[in-house]
Amino acid sequence: MSALERPDDFATRRQHLSAMSDAELQQHFWSLADKLVAPLIEEARTHTTPSIERSVLLRMGFSSIEAKALVERMDERSLLSHGAGRLVLELAKAKTLSVRAAGMALLAGQYWQELPR
């Protein structure tokens, strides 16, 4: 639990808001909210997670069990920063395999050395 404690100082704290019209207050509210989420959305734009990577493989036609195993093995090899879907698609293109066959080959232990580092 936090140690932040203080009495209700609303009357003094609100002084700078008192002159605002309702519309101005509303605008201020939303501009603060947008500012607050901007760094969060920037992090999301530039990062990924195992769940996102599994969700990409699901969309590429793998089952949840296959997606989980592929992402775990890619994560062990620190490959997820390239995107699980990209690794599978580019492998499929290089080997002229279907996307599914490329993924199943990885699950069978093949081609790992050919993936980007």
Binding site: M1, S2, L4, E5, R6, P7, D8, D9, F10, R13, R14, L17, D22, L25, Q26, H28, F29, W30, L32, A33, D34, L36, V37, A38, P39, L40, I41, E43, A44, R45, T46, H47, T48, T49, S51, I52, R54, S55, V56, L58, R59, M60, G61, S63, S64, E66, A67, K68, L80, S81, H82, G83, G85, R86, L89, E90, A92, K93, S98, P116
Partner: protein, 731 residues
């Protein structure tokens, strides 16, 4: 799959060929609103299209069984632990007007880092899996055909597998979902970086699939020590999820705010909750409002809970609600039972229709305490946002314990939930995307080397599952024991053998609930109530609600227990009464014969609505067939009734007896038969009794020729008269 009103849901059919089932439609559906909807004797202002099949509110029998539907979607939350039992409950709820079915997840699913498959049994909810969703959507597709209105299926995109669950929902035709990363952070202690990064992907998928998103702010309400003091924070939580969703690209009309009036009586509920509701609708104008009912102060008394829920729904009408969610009245004492889902839906339906058009006549004041409090709430929320930014942003504010503090912001009491940005479940699992990062699928958020391609990013391999559902990999079951097939063995065997068990939640649970008043002090009374239940053969009896009526005079208890019985359907006698005759047949026989019917409400009883419905032509009563009806009045003495019948040469005497205190209805019937006999005129008349507590058996036992109960129509009575008199005529 097609449903028939007189047949139970065929669970075998539901499970058949699920591998190839595809949902009939995707995305959220609203009701079709009607602003001047004529139905029976009324015109409704806030209505929507009628249902093809439904069960009206009980009082509708006085208005020609009309079943007006409100303009907003009505939600019920269902979860018994076994989805196959929930499907039957969904059908019952839909027949009472629910069109948003929210399926609660099993305890702990948030912390499973991946999808669950198959149909294992859940605790406090069901494991959300592809098979469970597909079977549920298939059933709802059939139910929506049956009732004639789209039904929205809804569950939760939270926890560690949010992005995958969002894909699953988009693929399987789920229509609504909770998605709010703050829920993970505050209540599930899942790492905050992980929660927000996952959430962006999940939101993008929901947005593209047309799935309506609900946020999670209502949870602060349910968690806060004093729920009305957390209101400034609720605006902040709504704003964070809303702004984040917009930044991902979700449309306004897909973003729903989950809002609960925070208090319950004896708190001055409307004075506290109304300014909050108004301020919220102003600040978030243009978004969707899902009005939830209060759970924070729900105790075990279902009447008390219902009254709070009526007041919650009143606030919805005084402000606005696109979705009126319902809480079952028994939520304060157990996982909801079947009939309490229906009770909750009916609370909303009854209240909304009762308040139809109210805002044409009243308005909320534009000055005074309401406006002052609305302004103050908005300012407190703004100050909260300012402080979050001043402290370095959202993560720092959570770390400082700013959220779910019991102080009324800016007051702080130091008892908020604090989470470390570096801690929580799966901390350290967020990975920076390399410059060559790629995700060749639709509905992907963020930097992606494939994004700038001219064609669909999934075109390189013939389309992703969102474009080509044939690519979806369906897994049926993983656990040979814990699955629906195993669980269905007993219910299906019971059904085949025609065996019935009492049930509140799951097939064959054998639970019943009895109300027992015990006239002594509470300590003794509770023990006595349990003893009484035991003597009634209830096993594992448990008091689930208690209310002291007076410390010495007595208490009332509701006691739940298991009654280990099975009834065979074949042993139940078929209803003895034949089908009514056709209108044409009745009129053809009755009109030429000038048959007189004398009718009255007897005893000290002023009810006349029921008997009027049986007699009057304007209500479809027997007058329309050409019977000459003489209604003598209410509270009529039996002697006078008999005199009048003799005077007009009546063939039939109809009595209505509604009051049943001390079995007075039975006395009236016996006395009328006896009186007619003593005067030697019994054979001249058909004696017929009607009333809410009358059955044919009771009436015959009391010397009548027939008895008619609730739901009787003029045609039923006319058919009886005709058959009886026709037989007499022939002999």
């Amino acid at each position: 799959m097609k449903l028939s009103a007189n047949e139970k849901l065929d669970l075998r059919e539901v499970l058949r060929d699920l591998e190839h089932y595809r949902p009939k439609r995707k995305g959220w559906s609203w009701r079709r609103k009607l602003t001047n909807h004529r139905l029976g004797p009324f015109v409704y202002r806030n209505a929507s299209e009628d249902l093809k099949k439904s069960i009206p509110l009980p009082a509708a029998q006085a208005f020609g069984d009309i079943d007006p539907q409100a303009d907003c979607v009505i939600t019920t939350e269902i979860a018994s632990g076994r989805f196959e039992d929930d499907l039957r409950r969904m059908r019952m709820a839909a027949w009472h007007g629910a069109d948003h079915i929210m399926v609660i997840r099993t305890t702990g699913q948030s912390h499973i880092d991946g999808l669950i498959e198959g149909t294992p049994e859940g605790v406090g909810g069901v494991p959300i899996t592809r098979k469970q969703l597909r079977a549920t959507r298939k059933t709802l597709d059939a139910i929506e055909n049956e009732v004639g209105r789209p039904i929205n299926l809804h569950s939760y995109v939270s926890g560690l597998a949010g992005a995958e669950i969002a894909v699953l929902f988009a693929e399987e035709g789920v229509n609504g979902a909770h998605q709010d990363p703050q829920y993970n952070v505050l209540y599930r202690d899942i790492n905050m970086h992980r929660s927000f990064v996952d959430a962006a992907e999940a939101k993008k998928i929901l947005a593209d699939a047309g799935i309506l998103q609900l946020d999670g702010a209502h949870n602060a309400n349910a968690t806060a020590k004093q729920a009305w003091k957390v209101t400034p924070e609720l605006f902040v939580q709504h704003a964070i999820n809303t702004a984040y969703s917009r930044a991902v690209g979700m449309a306004r009309e897909q973003i729903a705010l989950s809002t609960v009036p925070p208090t319950a009586p004896p708190a001055p509920k409307l004075r506290l909750d109304l300014p909050y509701a108004v301020a919220l609708r102003e600040l978030f104008n243009g978004y969707v409002f899902r009005a939830q009912q209060n759970t924070r102060y729900a105790e075990t008394d279902t009447t008390e809970a219902t009254i709070t829920h009526v007041l919650d729904t009143l606030i919805s009408r005084l402000t606005s609600a696109d979705i009126q969610s319902t809480i079952t009245p028994d939520e304060g004492r157990n996982i909801p039972w079947h009939y309490n889902n229906v009770a909750g839906v009916n609370t909303a339906r009854q209240t909304l229709m009762g308040l139809d058009g109210i805002m044409e006549m009243i308005e909320l004041k534009k000055d005074g305490p309401l406006r002052e409090q609305v302004r103050e709430l908005k300012e407190r929320a703004v100050l909260f946002l300012e402080e979050i930014l001043a402290s370095g942003g959202y993560y720092n504010a959570v770390a400082a314990g700013q959220f779910v503090d019991s102080g009324y912001f800016p007051e702080r009491r130091g008892d908020g939930i604090d989470r470390s940005p570096a801690g929580g479940d799966r901390a350290g699992t967020v990975i920076k995307r390399a410059p060559d990062y790629g995700a060749p699928v639709c509905s992907h958020f963020g930097d992606n080397v494939y994004r700038d391609s001219e064609h669909k990013v999934c075109g390189a391999y013939g389309g992703c599952t969102l474009c080509d559902p044939a690519k979806i990999q369906y897994i049926d079951e993983l656990d040979p024991e814990d699955n629906v097939e195993t669980r269905l063995a007993k219910p299906l065997a019971d059904r085949a053998a025609g065996i019935l068990h009492p049930e509140v939640e799951k097939h064959g649970d054998n639970f019943v609930c009895v109300t027992i008043f015990v006239p002594t002090s509470p300590d003794f009374a509770e023990y006595a109530a349990l003893q009484i239940a035991e003597k009634m053969n209830l096993k594992n009896a448990q008091v689930i609600s208690r209310r002291v009526l007076h410390p010495a005079e007595g208490s009332v208890f509701e006691v739940r227990g298991m009654l280990d019985v099975a009834i065979e359907i074949d042993e139940i006698p078929l209803a003895a009464r034949p089908e009514p005759l056709t209108d044409t047949e009745i009129e053809a026989w009755a009109r030429p014969r000038d048959i007189h019917v004398v009718a009255a409400t007897v005893g000290e009883d002023e009810h006349s609505v029921g008997i009027r419905e049986i007699l009057d032509i304007k209500h479809g009563g027997i007058e329309k067939y050409g019977f000459h009806c003489h209604f003598i009045g209410t509270s009529v003495a039996l002697e006078r009734l008999l005199d009048e019948a003799l005077a007009v040469g009546a063939h039939v005497i109809l009595i209505s007896t509604i009051v049943t205190h001390a079995d007075v209805h039975k006395q009236h019937m016996r006395r009328l038969a006896e009186l007619a006999r003593r005067r030697g005129v019994r054979a001249r008349f058909l004696l017929i009794a009607g009333g809410t507590q009358i059955t044919d058996d009771i009436a015959r036992q009391c010397g009548m020729d027939a008895g008619f109960g609730r739901g009787t129509k003029g045609r039923d009575v006319a058919s009886f008269i005709l058959r009886k008199l026709r037989t007499q005529e022939k002999s």
